[in-house]
Subunit: 348 residues, 2 copies
Amino acid sequence: MSTDDGLVVRNKQVILKEYVTGFPKETDLYINNGGTIELKVPEGSNGVLVKNLYLSCDPYMRSRMSNTRGSYVDSFQPGLPIKGYGVAKVVCSRNPDLKKDDLVWGITGWEEYSFLTETKSLFKIEHKDVPLSYYTGILGMPGMTAYAGFFEVCSPKKGEYVFISAASGAVGQLVGQFAKLLGCYVVGSAGSKEKVDLLTSKFGFDAAFNYKEEPDLDAALKRYFPQGIDIYFENVGGKMLAAVIANMRVHGRIALCGMISQYNLKKHEGVHNLISLIVKRIRMEGFLVFEYYHLYPKYLEMVLPNIKAGKIVYVEDTVEGLEKAPAALVGLFDGRNVGKQVVVVARE
Amino acid sequence: MSTDDGLVVRNKQVILKEYVTGFPKETDLYINNGGTIELKVPEGSNGVLVKNLYLSCDPYMRSRMSNTRGSYVDSFQPGLPIKGYGVAKVVCSRNPDLKKDDLVWGITGWEEYSFLTETKSLFKIEHKDVPLSYYTGILGMPGMTAYAGFFEVCSPKKGEYVFISAASGAVGQLVGQFAKLLGCYVVGSAGSKEKVDLLTSKFGFDAAFNYKEEPDLDAALKRYFPQGIDIYFENVGGKMLAAVIANMRVHGRIALCGMISQYNLKKHEGVHNLISLIVKRIRMEGFLVFEYYHLYPKYLEMVLPNIKAGKIVYVEDTVEGLEKAPAALVGLFDGRNVGKQVVVVARE
């Protein structure tokens, strides 16, 4: 236990100004430079005091910026720092499982230092011969999302036709690579030439297209999948989902991971062709990664050797400093990030 | 083999006048009294000549009345008799598995006699100590639909909260009774007081409501399921599906069996809240009964003793004579039938 009297230091924070409606703006968040924190865990607590190193910008955080109820995560509180996945180093601990200088990933605050009490949800980082920032992405929540969503929800088989939307994102780029490793035919959609190029040149997708240049998504999908789609990994929702349903094959599977195109709309787009799910006996299933974390050791066993062998790559979009965090987070929603969006708070 | 020279007899038929758009009308079909048929199977065929006894009116037949492509069944042909499930008696057979006077159920023509060549899809009726008409319903396609949809697709567990739309129909009344036998809490919706009364008084549903008297389906479902819905057996689609999704519990399952409210619309209603499938990790799955017919013997083993013990009942709505068949079929789409709609062509 490291419970020496703690230093009191500055603790810069990213604060939610007020609940957001519609598209979030950078100014919905602000930086508070005025706070301090004592680097010490209070007596009687079994929490940890951590120094935040890398913060993860994830689309699901949008719902926490609004005053929503009945979601699977609570809303952020205006006036307080927001929270999200991150990589951190333990500075002080009263928790028997964690000690000073341990590295962890899990939910932390968007600030320089955080006092964390939900220690059960923290993963201790054992493998350090990879970039630490990977624990916000391929080795963290997005990696597990891709793994569980593809292997557990989609029931994929070698040779099947797989389509992924938002395919260059934190999750999509991995789903595509997992599907290629399994021997599937893989096509992805993304929102810029740069991203589309990445999909085929870097991630090994068989083909890719820029959805912004396709006035008729149905026609685009027919071009890339003349034989139809067996598996759709859904990250965007709305029009794209409808177009995919129209192009699914019999016994197709749709894993609903996210619907980023809908998060900022007042009324979500309607999907009018659900009857095709009957005609084609399609299974459409929503999932949340936190129900699959028991598979994390199995996932690491699969993914770590593939990373080291260069068979799976991971592209991050990194900004330096908490000051840039609001723009980085908000940028997700108009697709400014190329690859996994990470905020570097400190490198050590 | 019974291949004596056949009698030539009148063969009254129900003919599709032309392809239908929108709501089908009785006049979209007409009776042809002028035809004849020889009661004999041509040499070289291994088909059967059957006398039709009972014909089944089923909602899926609507799509066959339009010039649709890409469905799982072909369209009917204007100028020819329509087809559907029915119970028939073999008059003449060149098929080694069927002989004169055997009773069968399966796809036959809407006419007095049919020459059937797709004999593999016919089920020979072995159990005759039940009403023969049951083989158009509880012991036929609708029964298997209820059985497969509920037990195979919904993965039901004792104590779960089950909602069924079009609940007094050929399939719905059975799903509700199966769910009650399993120990579920069961609520159904239907379109008249008479049907709603049937659900609770005859089929043992815990509660039932008339959807036509509920301006706010969401509020109605909240009233009947304050704790939410685990399983939805979907027969109607559109607004009802959206209202149900809003009231599903975490890990709920939706079996998509039919969407009768949508069949006659030019553009199907949009469902705007699919994002809830993610938040609540819901599985929504379409199915077609013909992929489950291998379970038919197992189903009979379950259902026959329950019928004989009076633990499962079945309500039919019967009309007499092919002349009444067009009105009976078309009546499905504004819910005129109370229970399974059957046309009696002949009783023996």
